[in-house]
Every structure is written in C-alpha cells, then in structure tokens.
C-alpha cells in the first residue's frame, strides 16, 4: 500500500516538475510547482513527518505560491515565446544534462555516508511536540538566526520599496 502510494505521488511530483519547465505560461508553471509541493507533502506524510507535511502545504503551497500567482496575475504576464533555439544548445543540451546527473550521482555516492532505503512508518519523531522540543533545545541558535535573517530580508524589502516611492 505504502509503496503504491509512494510510486503514485513520486510520479506526480516528477511529472509536475517536468511540466513546470516545459509549460510556456507562467501561471501553468506556478501551479505545477504547487503540484510538486503538494505531492512532496504526501511523501513526508508517508515517512512519518506529519507536522512537516502540513507546514509544507500551509507555507509553500498556501502562502508563498499564492503570492507568486498573485504577482503573475497582477503583471498580467502572457505566454512566453520560445526563443530561436540555437543549434549549439540543441546539440549540447541533453549530453550536458546527462553528464551533470552522472557527476552529481558520483559525488553523492563517493562522499556521503552509505544510504539505505527508508522504511515507511519506521520513524516516529515527526509530531508537532517532538519537532517543537528539538527546535527550541538542540537547534535553538540556527532557528533564531534564521528568523533574524528573514527579518533582515523584510526590512530590506521595505527600504527598497520606500526608495521607489520617494
């Protein structure tokens, strides 16, 4: 059951990812990204990280992507025109992609500790209580530093927007 669900949602995630790149219209691309995020949330859920899954949908699919779609709609961006494909890109594209994937695969295999397949339902540390405890004890400093980083970004955005108004 778990394997079947995993296959279904992994395929949806990959298909939406490909669709994101292939679609000409920005709205279609943005919604494909929502599809990727939602199917990733299902995969998190299968691995036992239910809090992460819910937050993934609330924050990424429900807030950030809504803003993306909002901006695309506000600017009324139309479908992209395909550029005149240069013969160089057409010839070199696919081999280059394969080479990149091969190099990445080699690096992961060579330098990371050996991995084994995850078992569904084996890990039980994904509830809100456990994540909260870890976040406020073990990872308190990175957590606070990240929030300050986001605050800096917000202040920067406000400053930039102010300059344009004046």
């Amino acid at each position: 059951m778990n394997t079947i669900l995993f296959l279904i949602f992994a395929i949806i995630a990959v298909a939406c990812g490909l669709n994101l790149v292939l679609q000409k219209h920005p709205i279609s691309s943005a919604l494909s990204l929502v599809g990727v995020m939602a199917s990733l949330a299902v995969l998190y859920l299968q691995l036992g990280a239910e809090f992460l899954a819910a937050v993934q949908v609330i924050v990424y699919a429900g807030a950030i992507m809504v803003l993306f779609v909002f901006v695309i709609m506000l600017l009324n961006a139309g479908a992209e025109k395909s550029s005149n494909k240069s013969w160089f890109a057409q010839i070199i594209g696919l081999p280059l992609l394969l080479a990149f994937v091969a190099v990445m695969g080699f690096l992961i295999e060579a330098f990371l500790p050996p991995l084994r397949a995850a078992e569904f339902g084996e890990w039980v540390g994904g509830s809100a209580q456990q994540i909260g405890r870890v976040l406020f004890t073990e990872y308190l400093l990175p957590f606070e530093v990240t929030s300050i980083l986001i605050l800096i970004a917000i202040v920067g955005a406000v400053v930039l927007a102010r300059k344009e108004i004046d």
């Binding site: 609330i58 429900g62 909002f70 709609m73 009324n76």
Partner: protein
C-alpha cells in the same frame, strides 16, 4: 472490514447532513436578511418558501452552461472544482460528539481524527484560495481578474491574524487534534463556569475569539469584507463569467467555508459539544427548547396571521414535539445531546454571520488592508504573547 463499512456509513451521514445544511443555510440567510430589512423573503415555493432550495437546485442544474470565448479552458474548468473539493474536505476532521457505542460497536462521532487536525484544516483552506484566484484570472474579464486579485491579497493577509488567533487557544489546550481539544475543554470551574477556551484560565481567549471571528469574515469573503465580489464595483467579482453548476460550486463553496470556520470556532473556543451548564441541569434543555418551539407554533397556528398558517405551523409544532420526545429515548440520548449542543453553537455563529451581513456596510479596499496589518495582526500577536507568558508561568 467493519472499519471500512462504519467509515462509509459515517461519511454518508455527514455528507447528507452537510449538504442539506448548505442548501437550507441559503434559505435561512434569505429569510433572516429579509426580516432584518422588513420584507417577508421567499414564500412562493412550498410553505414559507421551504422548498426554495430544491427549486434553486433544479434551476441551476437545468440552466444553460455558457462557456465565454477566449477563456483559458483548463483553468476555467479547474477553478470551481478546486473551490468546492477543498471546502468539503475539511468537514472530515470535525468531531460532532464524544465516543459512542452503536449496537456494541464503539466509534467516534467524526469521520477521522488526525493528530494534526487543525493544521490539516488550515492547509486545506489555504489551498482553497487558488479556486477563487484562478477562476477570476481564467475568465478573461477585467472585473473577474480584479475580484480574483483582491481575494488572493485579502485571504493571504487575513490568514495571518487568523492563524495566530488559533495558536493562542492551542497553547491552553496543548494539542492539535480536534477531539483532544474538545476533551480538554470539558468540566466546570467553581461548579458552574464551563472550561471552554473563552472562559478557561489563565488567560480567557475572549479576545482571540473576536479576532478569529473578524478574520473568518474576511477569509470567507463575507460582508463587511466581501470586496472580491462587491456588486456595485465588480458586477459579481470572480464568478461573473460562471453560470449553471460552475456558479453553484462557487456559491456552495462560500457557504461550506462559512460552516467550516464556524465549526472551528466552536471546537476551539466554545467547547465543542460540551453543554453550557453541568449535565444534571443541561440534559433537559433540548426538550424545553423544542417544547417551547412547539408551543409558539401551536399558538400562532390557532391565531393565523396569514393564509395556510393554521395548517403549516401545527405541523412544525408536531415535528418539534416528536424531536423533543426523541431526547427521552435512552439509546438516542447519548448521541443527540452532544449533537444538539454542537449544532446550536455552530448555528448561533452562522446566525451572527448573517446578522452582520444585514447590519454592516462594506469596507473600502485600503481600509480592509490597513485594518488587517495595523490593527488585527498586532492585536493577535499581543494576545498570543500574553497567553504564552501566562501559560508558562501558571503551567509548571
């Protein structure tokens, strides 16, 4: 196997009840609004217009389904489907009563109990905005586009104060599952004050409740925050170009959203199915309410003000007496009393939604945004900080 059968029965029951509620909510809204405005409201179809929802369903089903030209076909068709699916999804995690046993089989009065129930509902409703935004964008109409844009901006802005207002009672109740939330609100302080979140110490969530309710009005695009479908500016907003069942999906989604936010408010702040008074005094309340209703109906039936009143009102009175008698049956007793309290709390909140619609004028768009960011959001944050501080001091 039993689990699957029981779940299917529960889903069927909840869906039937929910759909009927949605249809009749619209009738109740029309009636209440017209009485606020000194009109009589729908009266033509059936006694007191009671068959009006059915007539509306037939009308919407048989209406011509117009597809405007130059729309983005895929997204135009997808938008109402997203809107209605996600609205109906969140009812799956709402508990309506405690654990009961039917013919010896113990089950919860709820389709499923998730340990991240409230997060599930927040996730589902935050995705729901795509239905409105996409519908507005794909219709190839300036008014629809503006409606869609407004709703996207408004719902993202008001989601923040709403989520923060939700977090404060979660600190008191110490769980994310709806069932445990309600169970933690059981019992009485000093023997009479119910331990609902809005009364529960160390910091009663009365401000949180008000903030949540205001944000909920905006999230469901209701007056005074119905800018996405402001009739005098935008024709009908994001659903201008939709007709027939596609329009009905948007329409139903609005009422389903309204019911959902009222259910969440009941479960989080008003103690779910827990009665207002301790059980020895509260168990006869439903009976008294239904008998009073029957009495009023019989009185007006004997002194008819309008034609047919001497027939229709006594029928309602007899139905009310039958309902009152049902509460004396010992088997049904344990099921009906929690449902009575839950439904009456949700019904009261729904009535407040309709009441506000009949009372308040619409905000201007800049006022709406300013209100969210400069008043509601800081107020919710302060409420959360005070709650967190007092829970930390009093808790351990």
């Amino acid at each position: 196997m039993t689990f699957i059968v029981v779940s299917l029965i529960k889903i069927a029951l909840v869906m039937a009840f929910f759909m009927t509620t949605l249809a009749y909510l619209q009738w109740i809204e029309r009636k209440v609004l017209s009485h606020i405005q000194l009109r009589v409201g729908p009266r033509r179809v059936g006694p007191h217009g009671l068959l009006q929802p059915l007539a509306d369903v037939v009308k919407l089903l048989t209406k011509e389904d117009v597809m405007p030209s130059y729309v983005n076909r895929f997204f135009y068709l997808l938008a109402p489907a997203i809107a209605i699916t996600l609205c109906l999804l969140s009812i799956a995690v709402m508990p309506f009563g405690p654990e009961i046993s039917v013919f010896g089989y113990r089950t919860e009065m709820q389709i499923t109990d998730l340990n991240i129930g409230i997060l599930f509902v927040l996730a589902v409703t935050s995705i729901g905005v795509y239905g409105i935004a996409l519908g507005g964008w794909a219709s190839n109409n300036k008014y629809s586009l503006i409606g869609g844009l407004r709703s996207a901006a408004q719902m993202v802005s008001y989601e923040l104060p709403m989520s923060i207002a939700i977090v404060a009672p979660l600190l008191l109740l110490n769980t994310l599952s709806f069932r445990h939330m309600v169970e933690n609100q059981g019992g009485y302080e000093f023997g009479f004050l119910p331990r609902w979140s809005i009364f529960q110490g160390p910091w009663p969530q009365i401000f949180g409740f008000i903030i949540y309710l205001i944000a909920a009005f905006a999230e469901t695009n209701r007056i005074p925050f119905d800018l996405p479908e402001a009739e005098n500016e935008l024709v009908a907003g994001y659903h201008t170009e939709y007709s027939s069942m596609k329009f009905a999906s948007f329409f139903m989604a609005e009422y389903a959203n309204m019911t959902t936010v009222c259910c969440i408010a009941t479960l989080l702040f008003l103690g779910g199915w827990h009665p207002l008074f301790p059980a020895p005094y509260s168990n006869f309340v439903p009976v008294v309410v239904f008998l009073l209703l029957a009495g009023v109906c019989f009185y007006h039936g004997l002194n008819p003000a309008r034609k047919w009143d001497n027939i229709t009102l006594p029928i309602v009175g007899v139905v009310a007496i039958v309902l009152a008698l049902l509460f004396f049956v010992p088997v049904l007793n344990t099921i009906l009393i929690p449902i009575f309290w839950f439904v009456s709390k949700v019904g009261f909140l729904l009535f407040v939604f309709i009441w506000v619609r009949g009372t308040l004028p619409r905000f201007r768009y800049d006022q709406l945004m300013k209100f969210a960011w400069t008043f509601l959001f800081p107020a919710a944050l302060i409420n959360l900080l005070i709650t967190g501080f007092l829970v930390a001091v009093a808790g351990h």
